[in-house]
C-alpha cells in the first residue's frame, strides 16, 4: 500500500514537471532554429544586437530599480509603524494592499491617464508617474513580504531595547529593523522586479521604453526571437530566485534564534 502511494506521488510530481518543463524545452528548442537546417543561438544574437531590446530592457531595469527603492522607502516605515503604533489598523492596511489585485491594470492605467493628463496635475509624461504606478501594482507583494518579515521578529521589544540604549527612529530603522528583515525585503524586491519587467499595459499606455512592450512588438514581426526572449526572461527570474535563496540562508538562521 505504502509503495503504491509513493509511486502515485512520483507520478503526480513527474506529470507536474512535464506540464511545466515541456513547453519551456519546446520553446528553447524552437528558439535554436533561427538558422535553417541546424541549431544555433542566432535568435539570441539577434535579440542582443537589437538596439530596441537594449532600450526596452534598460528601461525596465531602471523602472524596476526605482520601484524597488520607492517601495522600500514607503512600505518599510509604514509596516513598521503600523505594527508598532497602530496594530489595530493592520486589517485596513492589508485590505488596501490587496486593491491592486482587484482593480484590473487596464482600468488603473486609464484612471491614471484621465486624472493626470490635464492641469493642475499634468504629469502623464513623467517617469515618476510610471514608477508610482509600478509601486502601487507591486504593493501587495512588497508590503506583504515586509510585513511577514516584521512578524518574524519582536518589533516592539527590539525597538524599545534600542530606544532605552539611546537610539532614535533612524538608527532603529536602519540598524535594527532593516538588517533583520533583509531577506523579506529582498523577497519583495525580486517579486517587484519580476512584476515590473513583465508588465505590459502601463508601459505601453504611458509610452515608456520597457521589456514587455518590446517583446509584444517582436511577437508580431518575428518568429524565433520572441521564443529566445521568453527563455531570457525565465533565466532572469530564476537567477533572481537563486539570489533570494542564497542570501536567505544566512539571514534566517540569525533571526531565528535571536529573540
Amino acid at each position: 500500500m505504502k509503495s503504491r502511494g509513493k509511486v502515485f506521488a512520483w507520478f503526480v510530481i513527474i506529470l507536474g514537471m512535464l506540464y511545466f518543463f515541456l513547453p519551456l524545452i519546446a520553446t528553447f528548442v524552437y528558439s535554436l532554429h533561427a538558422k535553417l537546417g541546424h541549431l544555433s543561438f542566432q535568435a539570441y544574437t539577434n535579440v542582443f544586437h537589437d538596439p530596441k531590446f537594449i532600450r526596452g530592457f534598460t528601461g525596465s531595469l531602471i523602472w524596476a530599480t526605482l520601484t524597488i527603492i520607492f517601495g522600500i522607502l514607503l512600505f518599510v516605515p509604514t509596516a513598521f509603524w503600523v505594527r508598532l503604533k497602530v496594530p489595530k489598523a493592520r486589517t485596513a492596511i492589508e485590505f488596501i494592499t490587496l486593491i491592486p489585485f482587484v482593480v484590473p491594470v487596464i482600468v488603473f492605467t486609464f484612471g491614471l491617464v484621465r486624472t493626470y493628463s490635464h492641469p493642475p496635475l499634468l504629469i502623464v509624461d513623467s517617469p515618476f508617474l510610471l514608477v508610482a504606478a509600478y509601486t502601487v501594482i507591486s504593493m501587495p507583494y512588497m508590503y506583504r513580504a515586509i510585513d511577514i518579515g516584521l512578524r518574524a521578529i519582536d518589533v516592539r521589544t527590539l525597538t524599545e531595547a534600542a530606544q532605552s540604549l539611546g537610539a532614535g527612529w533612524g538608527t532603529i530603522l536602519f540598524r535594527i529593523i532593516i538588517p533583520n528583515i533583509r531577506v523579506a525585503i529582498l523577497n519583495g524586491a525580486f517579486l517587484s522586479f519580476a512584476i515590473v519587467v513583465g508588465e505590459l499595459v502601463l508601459a505601453r499606455y504611458l509610452v515608456k521604453p520597457a521589456f514587455a512592450p518590446y517583446m509584444m512588438d517582436l511577437i508580431q514581426n518575428r518568429a524565433y526571437e520572441p521564443a529566445a526572449l521568453a527563455i531570457i526572461s525565465f533565466a532572469l527570474t530564476w537567477a533572481c530566485m537563486g539570489i533570494i535563496s542564497f542570501i536567505g540562508r544566512g539571514g534566517q538562521a540569525q533571526v531565528g534564534g535571536g529573540h
Binding site: 524599545e160 532605552s164 540604549l165 532614535g168 540569525q254 529573540h259
Partner: protein, 353 residues
Amino acid sequence: MTHLSLNNISKQFSTNKVVQDFNLDVRKGEFVSFLGPSGCGKTTTLRMIAGFEIPTTGNVILDDEDITEKAPNQRNVGMVFQAYALFPNMTVAQNIGFGLKVRREKKEFIQTRITEMLALIHLEQKGDSYPYQLSGGQQQRVALARALAIHPQVLLLDEPLSALDAKIRVSLRAEIRAIQRKLGITAIYVTHDQEEALSISDRIVVMYEGKIEQVGSPFEIYNFPTTAFVAGFVGTLNTTAAEVVDPATHLLQIDGVQLQAAEGLDGMLKGDKITIAIRPERFNFVSQERKANILDCTIENITFLGSVVRIQVLVGSNRFYMDTFNNPFLELPKIGDKDQVTCSREAVLVLRQ
C-alpha cells in the same frame, strides 16, 4: 538620599485605570522589586520610568530632574526585557557596544567597556558569537551587560528571568544581585514571583489592581503583611473570620475558641467582625507548658514537600495549614488523629480590609 521619585503617578488607558496614586522614593543603590499578580500595573509603572508610557498624572524625578515627558532615548535608563531583546543581526560584543556607539563614544572606549562587561558577566569567550548561538541564560546576561554598558542612572528589569528554567533562574538572580551590589546601581525589578522578590530585594512594593498595597523589606512583607491581599499573595497563609471579644487584651474568638493577638485591635469594639491570618509555620503541636492559644484539631491531611511537611488540620469548621520541618527521626501524627495546635500571640495577624 532619594535618587528616583515617583510622585502621585497614575496611568489610564481609555477608561481603564491601570496605575493609581503611586508614590515611591528610591534611594541610590537600592534594589526595589515591584511584586504583584498579572495586570496589577507593575510593568506599566516600570514603563513609565523607562519613558515608554507617559503618566496620566504625576511625575517621575530622577536625580532631581523631572523626566516625566522625556523620550525614552533621552533618559539615561538601562532596561532588561523578559524576551532578552538582543539584536539578532549583531554579535554579543556589538550588542553590548550598541548604546555607546549610538552615543558616539570613542572606539577605544567602546572596546574597553565591552571587555569589562564581558568579564562582568563571565562571557569573555563569547564576544564574537551571535545571540542565537547562546543559551537563554547567557542571552539574558548579555542583555544585562548591554543595559549596564551605558552607565545608566537606573537599571530596570522587567521579569528578566521568567523565560528561563528554574535552576538557571535561581543562579542568575543571585548573579544579578551580586552585579547590582558591586556596581552600586539603583535597580527596579518587576516580578510576579514572590520567592524571587523576597530573595533579591532591599524593598518590595506589593501592588494590586493598580495600587500599592504595602511597601517594606522582604522581612516586613512576609512577617507583617498589613492587608489581606499581601498576606494572601506572599507565602501561604491561613485566613479566617474572627470576632473581637476584648479589644484591651487583644482577645478574639473563632468558632467559639478564644485566641489572643499581640496587636491590631486598637479602636475596635467588642463584637466587631475581623479577618485574622496565621502563617502555617507559626503553628506548633501543643507542648506541656503551653497555656494560651490552644486549638483542638483533627488531622485531615499530610503532604510531604521535601524540607517541609504540610499538615492540614480542622479546627471547628476552619481548615488550617501547619508547616513543620521534615525531621526523619520525629514521628508525625496520622490522618484522623485528635490533637492540639498552638501559636504565639505575635503569630495572629489582624488584617486591614
